[in-house]
Subunit: 511 residues, 2 copies
């Protein structure tokens, strides 16, 4: 006996809508934990998040979802579903199969341990004490390995680490990433050498002039306005707060970003805001008809990073952006930057120079930071290295890849929140995002030959519409490999990104 | 066959712990809605809160709780449970019986409608447009009536309105409140006349001197420090934010307050902070062993208000408090208040004068504001009046009780958030809180004859310990009528509150 496919589909989507709403509520609580929560509340908060992730898991694995899925998939009229409906079914099935294999105790244990590890990481980082963080990181990784081994079987990946990558970049593998990254590394290292040996070097001294935090807050709002991330109107769907580590969090009508203000490093917040705003407008511009549906999310973490890095770098570090925004910046900062000229400014914010901290890295060396992390994660999950060895391996890698000496673990292995937060397999997304952004730029140049002229006038509208149409509105309708091909007509390739960087650097550095 | 009572009790408490944690998570989301949420998110937020209140309801009415309750209550060893365990069972049973009678659809509908009504109320209030708010208020009340009629049967109260009162003040009735309030009104009106005709009248002009908001923020933090509500330390369990309507929200280690800063009315925030801090320290000083248990909450809304009004008024408007704090206030405000002397200041902040806004009312007229609301609520839920008539009735009542002419509904019937938020039966708690606070003061005077001297030195420790021991630590171990008798040895009586007020006013006004 076959059921009524359209009523079953409706019922299923009602159930899924609840899981999505519930998930968005947890996002608020996560955001609060990072931004507003009184410190004493950490124990209670960890209990709240653990409970809710258990409930989320229970909702997503409810037998009713399984029954409805089966009834729809086996229905003779299944072929008559439209592409969006089929994609929803595919995504629900994928998640259902994976989640039903993960025991609820494991899901709850991971959520609990995650909250504890983040808390300890913050303290350990503040006191440069990796020994303090180590046991929590070990527990984190042990739990992640358990999950990865289960997921590997469901996802049929070659390795546990590939199962983790698949969470963020569906169907991507460490092997493929390694291949792409090898080409990326070669290009970046060669470009780094060229920049280092170029006769024309930037003067970056004015970037450390002091800009008061309240002025930097105004700059952040002005930047958000340019890229049409609304944080001020009566119908604003966003807000900007301060956290140690900038992030974006939210869903459709409630997407919030954070930044970090350093009085003597105003550019840090400038590019954090642009980066996070790039994430935010992706979420906000998702097809509104798909709200509360699985297709109504970003395509992958790599695609998300492509959007943030497009706004941060391709847009935000372009000469044209600053043709428009430098006068505004000067207006907001009084006399502090009055003497800085446009070309010097643009070269300074595009300085290529190996550095210790990933989030402060320039576009050329950034990829190298990611490759260090990929290598470590891959070896960790292949049991080739241990948590204990991480500081040493980290420091050696920075020496090898970036010729940088790491002085302590806070500026080394503990700099990022990801491992404390239980995100393993995420880092490659950053470099993939750069690669995607390069490919998309090549296509956008053809579609919008005047985009730079528009930008120089302060108009981001055309660009945003292009991104919305090609990326944001597509939501999760395609896997990332398919989406990049649909947009650019090409498979994943490093070349456009490298040639964008080459062109930019050769102009700035005069080689 | 009887089960194992101690393992059943343990199982039951595990289930209940989850309901309490989940409830505390919703409190965070509620707080966020009032303080931080981008305006566009209101639709999503309303869905989140509705979903979660449905889930909360499902958890609290799970058949497993019913079975465990029954097995424990019928167990031959039930009598061997200690007083705390018995109280937990009593409170769980009460809630279970009530909640199982409320259909989940109704619970969800109330939560959804509440979020919408609050949103519309804000807009209507901003534009002085009761007609805009009216349909939402009507829906609110219709839903509340449905719930009240169901609860009336379970709680076996005489009227639907009594069932609502019982939510906030267990076992209290409108009849008893009316009796007590009659005596209160008589005392307050007579006192008001005396103050109005006294020769010594306060000069309050300096209360409208402008104090910048950022200075007022510092004052708020300094006040919190005096009453030991920690918002600044590395282990702080609280925070202070700004909302149109001050409130307290949270649980044990995460209790947050809000205030409202008016540049030309600094006292407004001063007393809001003290009021909300009074609520906050109640929650924070609950017996830590009872965290995640039903006994680990405040006794009743009236008791909660007794604590907030003790800190706001008995402490915060006492001469002794300002012996200590006026010099601090002067330090924080520069030259603005330099010329104000202590006695003038204390008289000004204790000015007795009929006014339009409840939260700004003095201690004498405050009770009259509450009586207006009690009368309206009682008549609304007895179907004697309609929502349409509210503005007229409100304005007439203010004329009758306070000789005040209301100019528009924003300063009239729409001034409070309660009816928009779906809180019916709450208002009496404010006046009951005053009455409890007077009774407790009488007892505290005997136990701590030096409390005023201590306070004048800036020491709140003895007072806080007394409140913690007698009220906060008692949690929800007793019904309010029992607790007030245990603390003071007397049944509910208005007399100590009236004599406290008489004594204070006669000193200040010289009658």
């Amino acid at each position: 006996m076959t059921g009524n496919i359209s009523s079953d589909y409706k019922k299923l989507m009602e159930k899924i809508k609840e899981t999505i709403i519930f998930n968005s509520a947890q996002a608020v609580i996560q955001w609060d934990m990072e931004t507003m929560m009184p410190p004493k509340a950490i124990g209670l908060r960890s209990q709240q998040l653990a409970l809710m992730s258990g409930m989320q898991h229970k909702m997503e694995t409810s037998p009713e979802i399984g029954k409805l899925l089966e009834s729809i998939e086996k229905h003779p009229d299944y072929g008559k579903l439209d592409a969006v409906q089929k994609r929803n079914i595919y995504l629900i099935r994928k998640n259902y199969d994976e989640q039903t294999k993960l025991p609820e105790e494991l899901v709850v244990a991971i959520a609990k341990q995650r909250a504890i590890a983040v808390d300890v990481w913050k303290k350990a980082k503040a006191t440069k004490n990796f020994a303090m963080f180590r046991p929590e990181l070990e527990k984190n990784i042990e739990l992640a390995k358990k999950a990865a081994e289960i997921l590997m079987k469901v996802k049929r990946t070659a390795t546990p680490y590939d199962a983790l990558i698949d969470i963020f970049e569906p169907k991507m593998t460490a092997k493929e990433i390694t291949k792409v990254f090898d080409e990326l590394r070669e290009g970046l290292v060669s470009l780094l050498r060229k920049c280092e040996h170029a006769p024309k070097q930037p003067d970056t001294s004015f970037l450390s002039r002091k800009i008061p935090i309240d002025v930097q807050r105004k700059i952040a709002i002005a930047l958000a306005e340019v890229v049409q991330y609304d944080v001020t109107s009566k119908n604003a769907g966003g807000r900007i707060d301060q956290t140690e580590h900038p992030f974006t969090n939210g869903y459709y009508d409630d997407v919030r970003i954070t930044t970090h203000y350093y009085e003597d490093m105003f550019a840090s917040s400038v590019f954090s805001v642009l980066h996070e705003a790039g994430h935010a407008i992706y979420e906000q511009d998702l097809n509104p008809e798909w709200m509360y549906q699985p297709v109504g999310t970003g395509c992958s973490s790599g695609f998300h990073e492509s959007q943030s890095r497009t706004v941060e770098n391709i847009i935000g570090r372009s000469r044209e952006f600053w043709v428009y925004f430098l006068p505004k910046l000067k207006e907001l900062t009084g006399k502090t930057l009055a003497d800085v000229d446009l070309d010097k400014f643009v070269h300074a914010i595009n300085q290529v120079k190996p550095s210790k901290i990933r989030v402060e890295a320039d576009e050329v060396t950034y990829g190298l930071h990611i490759i260090v992390r990929l290598n470590i994660e891959r070896d960790l999950f292949a049991d080739k290295i241990t948590v204990k060895e991480l500081p040493e391996i980290w420091n050696q890698s920075y020496k090898d890849y970036l010729s940088i000496k790491i002085e302590n673990d806070s500026e080394g292995v503990m700099q990022d929140t990801h491992w404390a937060s239980g995100y393993y397999g995420y880092f490659p997304s950053y470099a993939l995002g750069n690669i995607y952004s390069g490919q998309m730029l090549e296509t956008m140049e053809k579609d919008l030959p005047n985009w730079r002229k528009q930008l120089a006038k302060g108009s981001f509208t055309e660009i945003k519409q292009w991104l919305a149409k090609n990326v944001h509105n597509q939501g999760n309708l395609y896997d990332p490999a398919d989406l990049i091909k649909r947009i650019t007509g090409r498979e994943l390739t490093v070349k456009p990104y490298l040639s964008y960087l080459n062109e930019k650097c050769s102009k700035l550095y005069g080689f």
